[in-house]
């Protein structure tokens, strides 16, 4: 087992563990923190697969901006105490079982006998900013422009919803 394989297993274990912690922690703040760890683990995977751009963006946008926003909102609402009491155990268990079932089924469905293509780390440099950028601003310029509409509407939404009183 070489280094990269070792890294893969480590990062995978970390990601799974921390995401499990995200959904099991009672205190939302812990959940946020574990989620950030998950993101880091996933970014690690990106790096392993030579997708540096995404690794960076993931950390900056997700772990940095978005998660901080979450944390901020949580703090603002003073929800760090465990305020959640799951009254309906039945729903809790059925939820867990359903999620597990989905997992089993999807894994079973996707467990192909296709010849295993080894995903060699480091091979290819498509994940580099240059390559991605070129493609983004040539072929993908239409969606890129269109996503501005998305942001405009999100902005309008923040105004409409967030502004106090009317």
């Amino acid at each position: 087992m070489d280094k990269s394989q070792l890294m893969f297993w480590f990062l995978s274990a970390l990601a799974v563990f921390s995401s499990l912690m995200v959904i099991t922690r009672k205190n939302p703040v812990y959940s946020v923190l574990f989620l950030i760890i998950t993101f880091f683990a996933i970014s690690g995977h990106y790096v392993l697969m030579n997708a540096q751009f995404l690794a960076i963006v993931n950390i900056i946008v997700y772990a940095g901006a978005i998660m901080v926003l979450f944390l901020f909102v949580l703090m603002l609402m003073n929800l760090n105490k465990e305020s959640e009491q799951q009254k309906n155990k039945y729903l809790l268990w059925s939820g867990a079982i359903a999620g597990g079932m989905l997992m089993v089924i999807m894994i079973a469905a996707l467990n192909t006998t296709e010849p295993a293509v080894v995903n060699q780390p480091g091979a290819g440099d498509i994940g580099l900013i240059k390559n991605l950028g070129t493609k983004l601003f040539t072929e993908y310029v239409v969606p890129f422009e269109i996503s501005s509409i998305l942001f405009l509407s999100a902005m309008v939404g923040a105004v409409v919803l967030g502004k106090k009183g009317d």
């Binding site: 939302p28 989905l102 192909t112 995903n119 498509i126 942001f151 939404g157």
Partner: protein, 112 residues
């Protein structure tokens, strides 16, 4: 690493996210679980990107950009996620302002 490992990993994280959505009542955490699902997808897309890149290289050595599109897709997912988060959090804040709770089952006037 075989691609199936990545698939399994992504599916596991995805399903953990789903389970979180199903079991948690704090809307912020539910939302976070959805983000977890998106990240699982992102991971899968990047893995497929590499897979596809290598496959295409075998067929056509000149096609060095094969697989870029899914990484760009991840980029767009992040863009959308950001937009979604701003709107989603605005909704959650709005709800908190109104009822001082973020419990998804707290407001339950609409049913049947």
């Amino acid at each position: 690493m075989p691609i199936t490992y990545y698939i399994f990993l992504a599916v596991i994280i995805f399903c953990i996210g789903v389970t979180g959505v199903l079991t948690r009542r704090n809307s912020i955490i539910v939302f976070m679980c959805i983000e977890l699902m998106l990240n699982a997808v992102n991971l899968l897309l990047v893995a497929f990107s590499k897979l596809h890149h290598q496959r295409m290289l075998v067929l056509d050595a000149a096609n060095v950009t094969a697989g870029t599109e899914s990484q760009l897709f991840v980029f767009f997912i992040m863009v959308v996620a950001a937009a979604e988060v701003s709107v989603g959090l605005a909704i959650i804040v709005m709800m908190y302002r109104a009822v001082h709770s973020v419990d998804i089952n707290f407001l339950n006037r609409l049913k049947n």
